[in-house]
């Protein structure tokens, strides 16, 4: 059954942050917020037929990469104030269609193909705030207002506790700037060995400012203050999506809403007709719906995709709870996710020939895929032995699994280790 509405899931945040625990919770919501935008962007991105709409592909991909930066920046601030992420727990994985967590709930974030409707949703997500808005972590109207609420909390707690007590996180938990690439902006390390605790507060605020600037732009400006070598200034996310909307690029000096650069060609026909799930709460998840309506093969494919998605969230969870180097592996998993999402985009919806299935980005409990896995293993391979990598959340049992085969010899262990079965092994087993 469908999960309750996001707003009902958690006790509401207070309007103002006054304790460290409340700050941790707000920063966890910030990470959830950044992460919840990514599937909606990826749905549009991977609906683009390969070889077409390169400009739109570049625009959306650049935003996704910077959302990953925002996730990382929020994660570094959370870890700096001694908090821990909760990215793959059931409460924090969004159910689409969803509202932005703890927002004023004016609109639904949906998983749509690239279309005028999806571009409109993107514009709403990234909409710049009004000047002099009250900071608000609960019931905010725009993302800037939400981050202003966190900034206020940081200022308050910094005065109340002092920077050494507030920023008590471990330096080795911080994701380093060398791990980020492919987009504008930089990872800001908040806590470093041997630094002055007073600098930590400055850096934490800088990190939050970068998130808001990249999303909304500098005040009264289309651009976000970053530059890409050989390309020049970078429009904020809102204005990058406005370029899609208006089919025209912004150039330096342009006023908001009035891009005057080169035309941006967009062919909305060269897009896979991914099925749009209803905007109101559906009684079932897409996987359950296909399973219960006589399409178990589709349900299985979605389960495979969602298992990969959960693997990725698991890696990100590790990244922001003490193993920052795992971010490299998350990138590999994002490629796997891309290939699977693109495959799903092409599969005709057997229940309605106008559509294709497309990815559904659903939560999968660690034990939920196990029965499927066990059954597949029993039928597909004769007595396949299992192995896993030290520190990984999955086990492998297929000799052709590239992930399983690439385990560093020193990390290789026999058995299942009580872990979830690897999605690729599951897929290979058919």
């Amino acid at each position: 059954m469908r999960k309750p509405h996001p707003a009902e899931r958690l006790a509401g945040l207070p309007r103002k942050i006054e304790t460290k625990e409340q700050l941790h919770e707000a920063l966890r919501v910030a990470m959830e917020l950044e992460l919840s935008t990514i599937p909606t962007y990826l749905s549009a991105l991977y609906s683009i037929m390969p070889g077409t709409n390169q400009p739109a592909y570049d625009v959306i991909q650049s935003v996704v990469i910077e959302e990953m930066l925002h996730l990382t920046l929020a994660g570094n601030v959370l870890n700096a104030v001694g908090g821990a992420a909760a990215l793959n727990s059931k409460e924090f994985v969004p159910v689409y269609p969803t509202r932005l967590p703890h927002s004023s709930e004016k609109f639904y974030v949906r998983l749509l193909k690239l279309s005028e409707a999806s571009i409109d949703i993107f514009l709403k997500i990234e909409h710049p705030g009004k000047p002099k808005e009250r900071p608000e972590v609960e019931g905010y109207h725009d993302i800037g207002q939400f981050y202003a609420g966190i900034e206020q909390g940081l200022e308050y707690l910094n005065k109340k506790l002092g920077s050494d007590k507030l920023y008590s996180g471990k330096p080795e938990w911080q994701v380093q700037p060398t791990e980020y690439y492919g987009g504008a902006g930089d990872v800001i390390v908040v806590v470093e060995k041997g630094d002055d605790p007073k600098d930590r507060h400055k850096k934490a605020l800088q990190a939050l400012v970068e998130i808001v600037d990249q999303g909304e732009g500098l005040p009264h400006s289309v651009f976000d203050g970053d530059e890409i070598p050989g390309k020049g200034p970078v429009p904020a996310h809102y204005f990058r999506f406005d370029e899609l909307k208006q089919r025209k690029y912004y150039k330096p000096g342009d006023k908001p809403g009035k891009p005057k650069g080169e035309p941006l060609p967009l062919d909305l026909k060269a897009v896979y007709p991914k099925r749009a799930w209803p905007a109101r709460v559906t009684p079932q998840s897409p996987t359950e719906w296909y399973r219960d309506n006589g399409y178990p093969d589709i349900a299985r494919k979605l389960l495979e995709f969602n298992s990969l998605y959960m693997d990725l969230l698991g890696t990100l969870q590790d990244t922001f709870t003490g193993k920052p180097d795992r971010l490299t592996y998350a990138v590999t998993q994002m490629y796997d996710l891309k290939y699977e999402a693109q495959a799903l985009m092409k599969i005709p919806d057997p229940s309605d020939e106008r559509y294709t299935v497309g990815p559904s980005f659903e939560y999968v409990a660690p034990n939920e895929s196990a029965p499927v896995a066990a059954k597949a293993a029993a039928t597909a391979s004769e007595g396949a032995s299992a192995w896993y990598a030290e520190g990984s959340s999955v086990y492998h049992d297929n000799a052709d699994c590239t992930t399983g085969n690439n385990i560093e010899p020193e990390n290789w262990r026999a058995g299942t280790g009580g872990k979830r079965r690897c999605a690729q092994c599951q897929r290979l087993a058919g």
């Binding site: 060398t178 690439y181 492919g182 390309k231 085969n405």
Partner: protein, 613 residues
Amino acid sequence: MPDYDVVIVGGGIAGAMVAKAIVEKSGTPSPKILVLEAGTNQGWTYDGYLDYLDHFKTATVKGPNSPYPANPAAPSTTVFDIAVPTKPTDYYVQKGPLPFGSGYERALGGTTLHWLGTCLRMLPTDFKLNSTYGQGIDWPIDYYADDLKTKYERAERAIGVSGDKDEQYYPGLEPKSAAFKKYWGDYDYPMKKIPSSYLDQRLSKWVDGMTVESATGEPVSLKVSSTPQGRNSTPRPGSDFTPQGAVGAFETGQRCEGNSACVPICPVQAKYNAMKTWAEIDRKAPGSVTIQPQSVAYLVNTHSDTGEVTGVTYKRYENPEDPSKYTIETATGRLYVIAAHAIETAKLLLASNVANSSGQVGRNLMDHASAITWGLLPENIGAYRGPGSTSGIPAFRDGTFRRVHAAFRVEIGNWGWTWPAFSPNSDVNRMVDTYNMFGPELRNGLAEMLPRQFRIAWEPEQLPEPTNRVTIDEDYKDDLGNFKPVIHYDLSDYTKEALYVALQVSDKLFQRAAVQSYTTYSPAIDPGYFVYKGRPIAVNGAGHLVGTHRMGTTRHNSVVDKWQRTWDHKNLFLAGCGNFSTLGTSNPTLTLAALSLWLGDTIADELANGGGP
């Protein structure tokens, strides 16, 4: 007054590194540099580069040049045209007795468009082959006395090399030894190593510690060593290095994505190509460099009294498809650099009758004459994934055996039998055509075999030999009326003996790793086939063309001095692998880059001191 401060012939890595150093050392105002590029500049825009990619995807046969459209106005050789005798349509005129097996690319970016990216340094003894082992000649430069260490570091930063110093197991320079410390210092590469492939890891289990006896009786201990590469990975912690992305799309290609297409084209430009350096110069000193494509230099003019170069005359064509339409123009500068590739530079000098008082221009052509062995491993080692090669076995890169036979590098390939057998396409054809396989049987057959494919290359150096040479001949011209290279080429016993030894090591390695050999050489299929001491061997070109205008200690034995200035013309410099005195066992591009940056410094100093006419 000349039109430019410096005229550079060639828009590849040699010219780019020279220009980079000139611009960086000169500061403002920046000298004015003209670059004459024979080929097109299609890849300079990102869309143009994506067109290369499309061209590659639709090519039926995928060789190193296949992404880059054939250009009749500035032709080059494809590896499929290698044979003796040559067909009239071929670009190389091969006079044998063995065919010369290596080509290059003529377009902006040069051969770095299709190189693999291997960035090995030469060893100190490589510069002193004659005084150490009584073979070949010495270079006029020394690894320590001329501080090549710092020059290599600069080149590794300019290219963007990923590597791990502590995994470099070179003979005589083993990690933790005093020699290692002296060779590397505290330095490490700007980016962390590209992860070793699964094959590398398995192979190192089987091979590390295996010992064979050298021809001079010393034990040689084999060890798999990760290869430094000119492709982007994660910068070292604390480093201020920023990986350079694609030209025109800087956010793309800041890390290697494992697309497994480095040769012939990296789809995201995570692999270095020289256009990145031209773009970097353009960002840092806009307007300092003018790149003029589709301009084929064919004559270097000199002053009859002073011998100084007065201009470079070139044919500028509008349309590569129609070489009959061109204009003749002359570029003038205070100083000139010819950086047109080992074969093209030699050709241009010979055609102009300049810089050749030693008679060495075009001679001493060298390559790594590579033998490949291949077979099936008993287990799935994940062939066809990652960059083309991520490791090698450096054990035979140096040793007293160099008195008797050539040193060789061993390159471990990650892409199955692609090089020796055109796999996987040929396997599909064979299973379908010969064995009538289809459906699940075909799929299973391929899935069972392809991931187990293993190949390894044995790449000995050649000595400088005057008879291995590039010449020109009035009877052989291309469509633009320029000379085609006429090539005389053979292998001496010094190299053949190394191949013979290498294949014996290969036999032992195959036995140790339980590789079932599929290696066959045949005169019908292999242009580089010969029999040595009763053993059939076939060699391939490695694309490492060096030596055709070598540097040396006197004007009698060489074309340029250690500063890479021609002995005969004081305002004419040569850049590129043609300057190499000997080849050594490293892929030559990194050394080329280090020497070219050094040359750029020299030129910047000369410009500052009012050098040139």
